[in-house]
Symmetry: C2
Amino acid sequence: MIKIGVDAMGGDFAPKEQVLGAMLAIKNIPDIEINLYGDEDIISQYLTDKTRINVIDAKYVIPMGEKNPIQAIKTHKNSSMVVALSSLRTDESDAVVSSGATQALIAGAHILVRRMKGFKRTAISPVLPTVHGGHTILLDAGANLSIKPEYMLQQAYFAKIYAQKLFNIENPKVGLINIGTEDGKGREFDQEVFKLFKETDLFDFYGNVEPKDVLDPPCDILISDGFTANIVMKSVEGAAKGMGKLLKKHLMSNLRGKIAGLLARKNLQNFKKELSAEEIGGAVIFGLYKPVIKAQGASKAYGFYNGIRQAANVVRERVFETVKEYIDTQKDFEDE
Amino acid sequence: MIKIGVDAMGGDFAPKEQVLGAMLAIKNIPDIEINLYGDEDIISQYLTDKTRINVIDAKYVIPMGEKNPIQAIKTHKNSSMVVALSSLRTDESDAVVSSGATQALIAGAHILVRRMKGFKRTAISPVLPTVHGGHTILLDAGANLSIKPEYMLQQAYFAKIYAQKLFNIENPKVGLINIGTEDGKGREFDQEVFKLFKETDLFDFYGNVEPKDVLDPPCDILISDGFTANIVMKSVEGAAKGMGKLLKKHLMSNLRGKIAGLLARKNLQNFKKELSAEEIGGAVIFGLYKPVIKAQGASKAYGFYNGIRQAANVVRERVFETVKEYIDTQKDFEDE
C-alpha cells in the first residue's frame, strides 16, 4: 500500500474539499491508504467513509497569508502542515499533499523533510497544459530565485525522470526559457546555463525556447531560475484569466453571442477544463527526501483528488528513488 | 506639420502594407506628412496617392533574421532603416516607425539616433490591453537585460509622462512586476527597486504586482528589467495564442460548437481584435533623442497606420520634450 499524507486543514475550502477529495481518491486508486492530518472533530463531520483512511489529530492551522513562514513552521508543531510533513521522516507517509500556504509549505518541506542527499537545490515544478492535450513540466516556479547554473543540471535531470515515469515520454527534451531562440541570447546566467546544457549527457537539450510558445513548446520541460519560471507561470495564469473575462464580455454583448454561448456551453466548459490546474494535480517539489505536492489553494475535491493521484504515481513509479540512485553514483553530485 | 519617417521596407509584408498604411494615415490624420524610405521603384507600384508623402530612395533592406545587427547597421548605410533613422538627426523627420528587424532597429536607434542627453538607459515599451478596454504600459521589453535600479526611476518617469499625454491619465500608477505582492518580495534587485520607488516623488508607486493580474492590473504602468518584462510580454502572447487555438479546437469539435462559432463570429472577431497588437500601434523606445516606434513585423496596413498615429500623438503631445525639460532641471540625472 502507498501511504499518502494529506494536510486536511490547508487551503481555501479545507477541510471539507480535502476530505471529499481523499474519499474520492480511495474509491478510484486501489493501492493507496490515506493519513488525514487535521482537526479530528471537524474532519469527522465530512468523513462519511473511513475505508483505508486514518485521521491523525492536529488542531492548529497555519494561515494562508502567513507573513513569517519559517517562524510559523518552527512554532506550530501541532499544525496540520507540520504534522503531515513530519510523517515523511518517520515513514508514516510516502508522500504528502497540501493546499496550504505556499511559502510555509516550502519552508516546512526544507526544515522537516529536508533535501535529498547530494541534491543541491530543490525546484517547484507545476505542469502546464499544451494545446495538443499534452503536458509541459515547468521549473523552478519559485524555490530558488537565483541559482548557480550547474545546480540546474540536477533539476533538469529530475524533471526528465519525472516526464519519463509519469508521462511515458521516452526521451524528454529540455528547453531553456529565454527571450530569443538563438545561441547566446539572454542574460549572462542564461548563456552559462545554455553552455552547460549543451555539453551534458544527462538529458536531451533542445535549446532556447521563447515563452510565446509556452502552450505549444517544442520540448517537454521548460526550465529557468525560480524568479523567471514563476513569472512565466503567473503571466500565463494572468493572460488566461484575462482572456476568459474578455471572451465572456464579447459573448454577452448581444443576443447572438448569448445564444452562441448557451449553444456551445459544453464546448466552453471543456475549453475551460483543459486549462484548469485542477485537472493536473499540483506542483511537485523536486529534490526533497520524499515527495511533497503543493495543490492549488482553491482546490475543490476533484482537484485535490488529482493531487493525491499524482502523489501516488510519483511513489509508485519510484521517481525520487530513481534520481537518488543516479545521484549516488555521481561524484560530481556529492553533498557540500 | 508633423513629419513621420517610415521605414517602408522592413517587415513581413513590406513595402505594400507600409505604403497602404501611410496613405491611410494621411487620409485620417490632417496634421502629418510622411517620408517613405525605401526602394522607389517598388514603392511606386503601391503608392496611388502622393498627397503629403515624399519618397526617399534607399535600396537595401536589412533582413528580418539579421544575426549581427550592429554590423548590419554600420555596413548598410543605404538601407531603408538606416536612412529612416538618420532622418531624425537632420530633423527631416520628427519620429520614425519601422516594422523591421527588432535587434537591428534597437542597435540602429542607439547608434544613429542616440540617447536623450542625461537619460541613462533606454526602454522598449509596448502597450498591453486590459480586460476593461484600457491600456497598460509595459517596460522594459528588452532594451537592457540588466540595469541599475536607480536608472529605472527615469524609465518609470518617462512611462508616466507617456501615460499622461497619450492616455489622459492624470496620475498614472507604477507597478513593479514581481512574484508576490508583499514588500520584500523578489530578487535583491527587485527589493532595491521597490525601496527606491517607494521613496521617490517622481511618480505614484503602487507597489509589487504579480503577472497573474497582467491583463487587469491595479496600475497603469508595469515595469521590470529588460529580461523579465520581455518574458512577461512573450508569456502573455504565448498564452493568448495557445488559448485561441484551444478555443477553436473545442468549438470545432462538434456541430453545436460550429453553429455557435458561426453565430458569434462577429463577437469572436471583436474578442480577437481587442487583444490584437495592431489596434495599439507599436512599442516606443523611451529615452532616445527622438521617438522611434517598433511596429510588429507582421503588421498589415491598419496596424502600420496605428503605429503612425501613435508616432504623431507622441510628437504632438511633446512626450519626449517634456521628459527632456524635466531631466535638464535635475542634477541627479546629469550625464556620466
